[in-house]
Symmetry: C2
Subunit: 540 residues, 2 copies
Amino acid sequence: MAQDRTSRRIVILGGGFAGVETAIALEKGMSRHERETTEIVLVSENNYLVFQPLLPEVISGTLETLHCIAPIRRLTRWTKLYTRRIERIDLKARQVQLAPGYLPKPLTLNYDHLVIALGTQLNFDLVPGSREHALPFKYLEDALRLRNRIVQALEEADNEPDPAEKQRLLTFLVAGGGFSGVECLAELNDFVQAAVHAYRNIRPEEIRCVLVQSGERILPELDAGLASYAQAILERRGIEIHLNTRMKAVSADAVVIQAKTGGEPQQIPTRTVVTTVPAAPHPLISQLECPQERGRITVDEHLRVTDCDGLWSLGDCAAVPQKDGITSPPTAQHAVRQAKTCAKNILNSLRGKPLKPFLFTGLGKLASLGQRAAVAEVMGIKLRGFLAWLAWRTIYLSKFPGWSGKMRVAIDWTADILLPRDITQLRIRRDDAVHREHFHTGEIIFDAGDFGDKLYVVVRGDVEILKGAAIIATLGEREVFGEMALVSDHGRSATVRAKTDVDVVTVSRSAFQQLVNYLPGVSPAIEEIIQKHGATLPEL
Amino acid sequence: MAQDRTSRRIVILGGGFAGVETAIALEKGMSRHERETTEIVLVSENNYLVFQPLLPEVISGTLETLHCIAPIRRLTRWTKLYTRRIERIDLKARQVQLAPGYLPKPLTLNYDHLVIALGTQLNFDLVPGSREHALPFKYLEDALRLRNRIVQALEEADNEPDPAEKQRLLTFLVAGGGFSGVECLAELNDFVQAAVHAYRNIRPEEIRCVLVQSGERILPELDAGLASYAQAILERRGIEIHLNTRMKAVSADAVVIQAKTGGEPQQIPTRTVVTTVPAAPHPLISQLECPQERGRITVDEHLRVTDCDGLWSLGDCAAVPQKDGITSPPTAQHAVRQAKTCAKNILNSLRGKPLKPFLFTGLGKLASLGQRAAVAEVMGIKLRGFLAWLAWRTIYLSKFPGWSGKMRVAIDWTADILLPRDITQLRIRRDDAVHREHFHTGEIIFDAGDFGDKLYVVVRGDVEILKGAAIIATLGEREVFGEMALVSDHGRSATVRAKTDVDVVTVSRSAFQQLVNYLPGVSPAIEEIIQKHGATLPEL
């Protein structure tokens, strides 16, 4: 293994618990000589580690935005950090290619050992419209974006004269009843209930929080008794829980759900949908030529990938066998222990020593329910209510990396007792120049008289053009509509409705104007469409 | 004035100090009967007030991101808040039109009294490339974006092998030597100097912070003695100050500056440029048919716009005469006092009582220099150093709106003494689908072999296509280049250089793929260009 070279390189891909803890454990385990001859490289898109268990608290503002994360540079000492996207992994050439940074130059890293700890991604392919309209809940950005969406919905609801639209704005739906979904909804509900007092025209009982869970109970990871206790607590707070129910589709203003036993699909009007399920493999992993089971990399009990010299994998992206026969669950505590084993084994294989197996089987499980309640199973003991919540805070505070991080969390928790919830909406202006949207059959895409804010191109499905109640035309794939209002500056002159389920690409007003002016071919094509529509669809 | 109607409406435009304080003063000044018959409406894009004096502290992280702002809903009690953009002001019809919220429906507000407090905007028209490449420093978002850019530059510099590129990444330039520019650069310098210790390959002396000021001294708002004290302090910290110098142009990797006395323009290679000057009128105000002087609305000493019944203006967007003969400067303390006078006068005019003139002439001026130093003139007394800094903190803490806001600021200031600076980079992913860029004469737009991340359309100027050192073609206005690398997935096959100063529109790889697939006309036009270039420019 390149033992004869003066310098060796271990490349770790992924800046979550698995990747960062591997770097830390490698640093700790190396002798001074090994440090001088072995380079540890960590590649992570963000320069911080997200402390996932505390992420829900960012929604409610219990924790300051940046306090559920820890800078990777402060956690490691000799590791070289690249904050770039990974373009390609080449196992044969033993190379990893990183995306360009400021300069348009990609970077190629050769490695002796490669550790893949890329985690999983949310799978948006299963539910139509979820990619376009459901908010993921995994990264710090997601928590921040969700918080802003909630505040925006409250702001709009406070001024909304139409009761149906107001109810839609005040409905918040979370799909997924596992740890992540339950904790997210509990904090979301706490935040909305606390924030609502600043809005004069919203009564707390108008808030509707909905949890959709495909399983027959929430928190399947936990003991059934604790799960039903948690469900009772959430229901007492007015949270609506749909069990044995699947989210079938999402659009900009509604979710379609359906019981697994069949029956009529049901529409829930809402403008804020969060999805926490299900996980899909990282795209780089699905392209990788190595043994995999259900999207996870197969490793042996030493965290080594079979038949791939110098390749290791751990964390959520790996199928790690435990000594109790099951596959390691995707939790932070398992990732941290796997990292220690992985680091030890990389060092042992560099030293020509035998490898050690992964022996950890889990210490316990904790789920926070907000409002000083939680459920927990710690080393066989079941806890619930305030005591479980105290255990939750104590354990996670002790696990938070770094003393300054711990201090910041402790300060926030103290301040939260004293200060009212912050309701500021930090707008992250997204340049929605080119965007995709989904509409259910029968949904109105826009109404006559509406402000013309974008152009639509049909990708899949059909739309109907309405003048009053009369259908004056049907448009299908690759047909364009909504161009007139962008050109003329008047409102929409007709109503457009989804005839079937429809996917569209939209181009914003400002992007449209730049494209028409500068991108070749656009201006004559649009002109042609306007003339054609002008002749056949004078009302569009 | 609609005294006979049962309900009257006062509409305030702008959520800065001027607008928010007018709403607060109106609420305080109204009798119970007036409250029941008069609606106060405030329109602000954000649902919070930015406490501008503390904004620089967000760069350094002394203050948590959301702690330099206060939610407008918590500061007012009966005011109706709309967090929307303003589309149009119609003085004749006495109407204001707001942009759509969630629904594509604009909203029209009729008013009896209209208060315009829209502030100013940064003027990007004077310096080529500044709109595209210089970061403004005015809103909370700006502070956050600047902080992230600094961290990104440090991350890249830490791994950069090319010394010239490393120096470019470690150079930070602020244009404008008034209060805002000086405070911004002082905090920026503090942050970088503190953060740099987490980066193993950057030495503090490699950091270059530059201030460009067109006047003959910094802080022209202050006494000359205090300004030169401030300049000496900043220079002692290694900050480079260019006086009598103008920023002439900005591109993605350099700034061109030139002495006002003439002489050769000088290039400063940098990737982080902040502009704090100069102000331009809000576009809604320039369209308004009312008396204006140099972009500011002319008002009388009662803050009333002459010959426009029920129209008032104050704050940075108004030219308010003071009793000492000068026009009120654009500061928070003046806006707050103007708001009180304006509210009083609106109420008096509703009551048919005589109006009161604006009498305030200013209490003092304060500029923080970071590291517990400041300069101040308070009620005629000049302060500098630690004492001035103590006065600065005491005064602004006392002025911060709301007790919970004050608490949060106080907690942060305390924690800052104990905890190391946070260096996390909260990436705000911007979808740069369609974007504009500027290049100076002679700048390389991309090199052969670079990763093909976007398509370019020339808006103004000429570019040269190079094969080695030989110029093989020149392209001008509306011509397209860079399409091949997007289609073929190989790197760039030629180098492109700006022959003159060049403005381009760029379309990102992902947006390009969607547009080619869906927007009519694009695909055949691009095909045609590829064929043409294939015949005449086989190397592009």
